[in-house]
């Protein structure tokens, strides 16, 4: 079954009753209200993933699941370089980790370096997503993708600063799981390796891509069309921002808020990116807790989560 077929079949799965005892990692306010068994309609072929993610959130809320407690995520850095180009000193990795930890602390995620490996390989260094080079690189280097975050630094072509895998892709392609970021996007670089000006060198690409890895969409996902990025407290945004057009853009009909250009999930310059919203943090907790449950022993052991999973997948 390919990814698409998987998603289609997942989208057609119906919610079933799911009750169980509360795991230590969850808070459950009252007894869970049993879900009604619903009958499947014909699923829309797209965007099946969004539908499925929404089902997950609905099921978690219906079962009063709230992920609490810290999840510590081991991070495996794979530094792909071409001679000196792409080589990253420890100072930059530490600065990047500090930034990730600051950005994700409100979601109770903590990142810890587990591994840093250097690999000299020109083809991997200049790869593009979806090519053999990406697959080859990740098959050769990716490690413990269920229980850690693999970060590859390289110089992807085509104006790409980075790309990531969504948590719901893990089941079908676990070996491809992880985040790829441009080596010149990490903070505290001693020398510029890329064309100047380069307003993407403060480490926000990793924050952005890890956001995808945790299940967040771009703030401009879907443009002005509901449900946008599936996060209620980010304004609808017609298209990606560039630079830092703070309090300047709001092109969607009926949208009274300005575009969320300071959000980590937009395309603004690094210096402009400042925050996630509370609902984004909630979504991160939900998506990581549900799809990346193996990161945390408590979510891994939870019978309630297992029941919810079996009911909607």
């Amino acid at each position: 079954m390919n990814r698409r077929e998987f998603l289609m079949s997942s989208a057609c799965a119906c919610l079933a009753t799911a009750t169980a005892k509360v795991g230590a990692v969850f808070a459950q306010d009252t007894a869970p209200a049993p879900l009604k068994l619903t009958r499947c309609g014909t699923p829309l072929p797209t965007p099946a993933e969004k539908i499925q993610a929404r089902r997950v959130v609905t099921a978690l809320r219906a079962n009063r699941v709230n992920f609490r407690g810290k999840t510590v995520i081991p991070v495996r850095f794979h530094i792909i370089h071409e001679g000196q180009r792409g080589y990253l000193p420890n100072r930059q990795i530490k600065a990047q980790m500090a930034l990730l930890n600051r950005a994700y602390a409100p979601a109770s995620l903590e990142f810890k370096v587990a591994d840093v490996n250097l690999h000299e390989n020109s083809a991997w260094f200049r790869h593009q997503p979806g090519t053999d080079e990406e697959i080859e690189m990740k098959n050769a280097l990716g490690k413990d993708t269920a229980t850690s975050l693999n970060i590859y630094t390289a110089e992807p072509a085509g104006g790409l600063l980075g790309y990531a895998t969504f948590p719901w892709w893990y089941r079908e392609t676990p070996q491809l799981d992880g985040v790829v970021i441009h080596h010149a996007s990490l903070p505290k670089a001693a020398r510029p390796w890329v064309e100047q000006p380069w307003p993407f060198n403060l480490g926000m690409t990793a924050v952005h891509e890890v956001g995808h890895w945790c299940g967040l969409y771009h703030t401009f996902q879907g443009g002005c069309e509901a449900p946008g990025d599936d996060v209620e407290d980010t304004a609808y945004e017609e298209n990606a921002a560039s630079g830092c057009p703070l309090n300047q853009r709001s092109n969607c009909p009926g949208e009274t808020r300005f575009d969320p250009v300071e959000n980590y999930m937009d395309y603004s310059d690094d210096a402009c990116m400042k925050h996630f919203t509370p609902v984004q943090y909630q979504r991160i907790k939900d998506m990581v807790g549900y799809y990346r449950y193996q990161l945390n022993p408590l979510t891994q052991r939870s019978s309630l989560l297992a029941q919810i999973r079996s009911s909607i997948e």
Partner: protein, 199 residues
Amino acid sequence: MRPILLLLAGLALSFSAGPAHALKHLGGCDIVALAAKNSPVAVSPELWLDYREATEAALASGGSDPRALSARVVQAQMDFLAALGGSAAYQDYLAGDSCHLLSKLNASAVDVLLAEATSSMSEPAAQALGAIVQAARTQIDNIERSARFRSNRDKTLFAAQYYCFIAAAIVAFLPPERRAEIALEDFGETVSCKDAGRT
């Protein structure tokens, strides 16, 4: 430990057998533009026939990996354009204002055109065409949703590679009279090559 290493090595080998750059080709948009009745470049009917045959042969070359199949289709597209490569009219087209790329695919329009194209194809080739079109759409959709680009312009140019590949693959199988009616806009929204930053 050893069996795990062998398994990983096997996986790596099985994945590395395919093409390096599959499912995308910016020049595909030129092929669609050159098919139009008011094409800026005269293309002989024989070249169109060669293109169709080469694309069909690529699709029929076997294997179920859409990426490997698509690499052969891209080669057929490149061969077609290479045959025009020296043409001053083609170079003028590339440098001029009429050169356009697809910036957004109209999914339902593509489905209709794909159905039209496959209606005159052998079943295996039709299935293969459907598979590579779907694979390209899925691929760029996934990339667009999970990537950060330096700018919208970079994103547009990146996505155009996939959209143009799709359009040219479909156009290969439209009958000549129908092909002449088709414009790039029939596949979706377009952007000028200059605005997209095509070099």
